[in-house]
Symmetry: C2
Subunit: 241 residues, 2 copies
Amino acid sequence: MTDMPLEPGPAPVTGEVPVAFQDPTYRAAVVDLLGAIAYGEIAAFERLAEDAKMAPGLEDKTELAGMASTEFGHFCALRERLRELGVDPFAAMEPFQKPFEAFHARTAPSDWLEGLIKAYVGEGLSADFYREIAAFVDADTRTLIIDSLEDAGQSEFVVDRVRRAIEADHRVGGRLALWGRRLMGEALSQAQRVAAERDALSALLAGGVDRPGMDLAAIGRMFTRLTENHAKRMEQLGLAS
Amino acid sequence: MTDMPLEPGPAPVTGEVPVAFQDPTYRAAVVDLLGAIAYGEIAAFERLAEDAKMAPGLEDKTELAGMASTEFGHFCALRERLRELGVDPFAAMEPFQKPFEAFHARTAPSDWLEGLIKAYVGEGLSADFYREIAAFVDADTRTLIIDSLEDAGQSEFVVDRVRRAIEADHRVGGRLALWGRRLMGEALSQAQRVAAERDALSALLAGGVDRPGMDLAAIGRMFTRLTENHAKRMEQLGLAS
C-alpha cells in the first residue's frame, strides 16, 4: 500500500497513511511540506525566544516566551506525523535550514518593534502560503497543517504594541513601513529559492495527470492574494505597505 | 479572611486561599517564594533557548527547545496562582530579577557542554532548595511548587550527552568538573544574597511562635543535603565534585 514494509517490524507505523501516499512524488512533496513547516516552527521558536530578550519589561518578555512555546507545540505535532510516515523528521527538515537561516540573517531585527513586526508579518505570510498549498494535499495532512498555522497570539499582541509605539512617536511609522516591505521582499526571494530546489514541492503545486494543480495564471493569482493579505496586515499595524 | 476585599468585585478571586494566609508575613513569604520560582522558570526558559543555539545538531536543538517550553508551562501555573492570590505576578517576580541575572552573568557557558551542565546542576540545586522550603508551606502551595520543579527532561538528556563527550575525550572531564564547582559556588552566593534581602522568606525558614522552622543547626544540615545531592549529580555526569 505504501513504500513501507508490510510485515510486522520493530517500529510499527501507528498513524493512518492515506492511499494518495502510494505515489512516491506525492509522498516526497508532503514530507517536504511538513519538513519545511516543522523547520519554520523551530526557527520561529528561536526568533521569538531571541526577541524576548529585547522586551521592554517582564510581562512582554513572558508573552513572547509563551508564543515561542506554542510554536514548539506545533512542531511536536509535525514531528510526530513525520515519524508516523516512517520518516526521520530531522532529515525532512534539513533541506530548509539554509533558506530559513538566510532569511533570518538578512532580516535580523535591530530593536524590539522590528522583532515584533517580523514575527507578525513573517508568520502571517508563511501561514497564508502554506494554507494555499494545503488545498492540494489529502484531508489529514491539510488538517495538521491548518492546526500548525494557528496564530500563537502574535497578531493581537503585536498590533497593540506597534500601534502604541506609533501613537507615542509618529516618526517610527516610516521606518517600520520600510522594514515591512523589506521582510516581504526577502521572504518571497527565499520562497522562490525553495521552489526552485525542491522539485516534488513544485510538482505538487503544478499538479499531475490525476491531480489538480495551478497553472501559471493561478500561481500569479496566488501571489496577488499573498500580497493583498500582507498589505492588510501592514494596515492593521497602522503602516503603509 | 485575607487582605483582599470581600465584596463582589469585577475580578473575583477564583482559587482557594488557605487560612494560613491570614498572617501577612506568611502571605508575603509565599508570594516571594512563588515569585522567585516563577522568575527562575522564565530565566531557565531563556537559558535553554539560548543554549539551543549551541546545539551540535537539529535534534539536540529541539530537545532543548522542548525543555524550555516545559519550563514555560511551569511558569504559567505559578503566574495563575499568584493572580489567584490577588498579586501582580510580575511585581512578585521583580525582586529576583537582579540575583538571577547576576548568577547568569557570572556563569555564562562558553560551549554546549557547559550549557548542558549548567542546566542540569542549576535546575537540580534550585529544585532541591525549593523542595526544602516547601516543607514549611501549606499543602496547596507545596503541591504547586513540587509540580513546578518536575524535571523537564534535562537529567537523562544531559547525563547522556556529557558522558558521551567524556568518553570521546577524557580531558574534558577536568574542565567540566571545575565548571560544576564554580556553578555551585555562584548559586550559593546568590541564594545567600536573596536570603539577606528578603526578610519574609528568611522568616519562613526560621519559623515563628505558631509555626515550625529551622534553627541554625537545621539550616546547616539542609546545606549538607544540598551539597550531597550536588555531588551525586556530578557523579551521575561522571565528574568529580
